[in-house]
Amino acid sequence: MTGQPDAFICDSIRTPRGKGRAGGGLATVKPVRLVADLLAELQRRSGLAPETVDDIVLGCVSPTGEQGGPIGRTAALLNGWQMAGPGLQVNRFCASGLEAITLAAQKIRSGWEHLVIAGGVESMSRVPMFSDGGAWQFDPEISGACEYLPQGISADLIASLGGMDRAMLDGFAARSHRQAAAAWDNGHFDRSVVPVRDDLGQSLLARDETIRPDTTPETLAALPPAFADLGADGHDVTALRHAPDLATLRHDHTAGNSSAIVDGAALLLVASAAMAARQGLRPRARILASGLCASDPVIMLTGPVEAARRALRTAGLGFDDIDLFEVNEAFAAVPLHFMAATDVPLDRINIDGGAIAMGHPLGATGAMLTGTLIDALERTGGRRGLVAMCIGAGMGTALVIERI
């Protein structure tokens, strides 16, 4: 491994996450403005020279309407970066924000680029999920041929196959809220979260809006199943055909043990050692490896395990070499399945809560998880961390980082 420059994460910031619906804390802010304000803050904190930015790579899962186009370039222009900051929009469904970081690392490790801003944005209140359509989910011919299933059905299938009952799912969800609330109370997010203001300078949102610290498995138990109706439409039959020995599909996922729909954005500064030194940036973490896989599209959401294995293989490491994990809480069954399959214990997973409590702003989440992981490694003194995310259509991706 000679001659390939290392890729370093030098800084990481994010917005708080606002409820992704009318009246949500960020619903009156254009997504491009969320990105532009974070860009300005990144510039302010790091002192980076805009003309040295080789690319702005942003995940965005509904890149249409006001979120359309390479939104990073629009944000750069909005900030007056006329002659600096190209932009690239990335869509890897729910892992787009993580894919942006992987791409940034690959650009830098190729030696062709030296400083890349990577992250993501999603205003789910203003550009609702599925605004960009998609043949896989919505074209009658194609979705039929691909045996498309809604993710919630797949999550219920994973829970049913894995013997996770409602109490387990709700227990994990309550823990997400507990850990997230404690993380906020203990200042774990203070460094990375940048409050969002309107253009008059008035504060709009300073804290993740969907955390309910008083959540318990008992309060969650009262919620109705979220995907039973979808299943009854016919999806249950498809799901059960793929699990011939499963007698019934339990619909135990609810709005309470699935990720919250939110708005938000996050940016990371990724640079080569030489560029970091030139600009006086302090590397906080080295990107060691990434892993990407396609897995069973009906089960759909167990890809994080294989993706993590591949990333670790590339890094020459095992699960025991990783101090902390961030496994996206798209549904409670996903991290529970990851733990069961890898023997990683709960106290090393999502220690500051996750998307069940704080929300999953699709294109931004991967970048948020990576930032949270760096903050946590620095705080706990851990050395290595791994982010893993499930993705629509059976994909999975993972990223391994090492604290400097």
Partner: protein, 475 residues
Amino acid sequence: MQSYFTETLNDDGLLTVALADPSGPVNRTTDRFKAELSALLDRLEAAPVRGVIFLSDRPTFGVGGDVDQIAALAATGPAGIFADSQRIKALFRRIERLGLPVVSLIEGLAVGGHFELALASHACFARDDDAIRLGFPECAVGLIPGAGGLVRCVHRLGLEASIPLIVEARLIPPARAAELGLITGLGPDRAALLAAARDWIAAHPAPHQPWDRKGHRVPGGGLFDRRDRYLSLQAKTAGLIATGGGRPCAERTALSGICEVAACGFADGEVIESRLFARQAISAEAEARIGLRLKDRSVLKRSGQALDQDLLQRLRQSLRDEAAALRARGLSAARIGKAARQAGYDPEVLDLAPDTATARPDAATLDLAEIGDRLLTAQSLPVLRDLVAGRLHSAALANSGPVNAAGFPAWTGGPLRWITARGPAAVLAQCRQWAAEASPGADHFTPPFATAAALQAALDRARDFDTEPETEQRG
């Protein structure tokens, strides 16, 4: 002091509220209006009546915000004006959610906040008279509707239909408003309007606005819901940018607000409208346009003053002198003309000879913004000189005279407002630099002031010229 609202509870359980602003002959949405509306709503929420009818016995229904109150609040910064905009919106929302019918009767001019009151009423009937005007004149004075009018217009009519009414500030007669669906109906006279209101109230004992019904959507949806819509609006935006010299302006703010509001929920739309209203209310643009369109005009109507011919001549000459000086430095007529247009001038007034093939391409160039500043400064200095020499005694005249008679760009609000907005110290320093660079004999940038403090003092004195004798009449 008399009250704004005169309430009459009729035998049939209808409360008639007659609007008569005690602070002047024309109804405005003053602080007193808001206070009395709030008190009325308190009473109605505690003790509902069968229905409420707003009307006015004055020739006009009302003209909305008091620009002096808006300016005073704006001077304290954006937070106060944002909060005030949210406050009147909250009052209008309480009207909509009273659970009993509220109807407005319009029998004269109803614009701005008073038209917004009518839109917040569950029904509105107007006298069918083509001399009456309804609508949103705010953009013409550098503001946007701030009492929920933009949001309600968009939620009633949709995005496209709102543009001429709000962005172009096009006032319409009642018949057109009824045709659009902005008001409920028409009647020939008070008796007919009252009868229509009574019938409507009887038929709608507990009305809801469309946006308070489940499943409501802005007709036609948001900007990005239709491809032909955002493609065609691109041209609209380009046109506003071109005519406005690229400067931010109320028309662009309003267009952007309409597009954004059309795509989000009602309450979010209200926040967006208040934010944009505050942005405009604190802008130099609003001060300039309100100053020229409303304040200067009323002062000059009273005083009858006009610029003397000598100053008028020098104002025109100063522009031509600077244009000639720029040509002499080797700048192309194309560049100077574009700069003039961008600054808001008609390039014709510069008397520029067309470029020839011999234009020096290596001449030291100036960017368009600096050339524009030079033209504006060159034309402001004759006004300052007359001010110092005691030949000008009216700030209204000093500002609007050059705009009306000598092509000084209206967006500035006139030479004195432009210098005030730029900052006297900056303007003076710039004059000195340009005067020092000028070729011998060219002294049109020599300022008539030695210090910025002296210039500021002159501007302050000028501001008092028109206000002192006026205090009595403002009352």
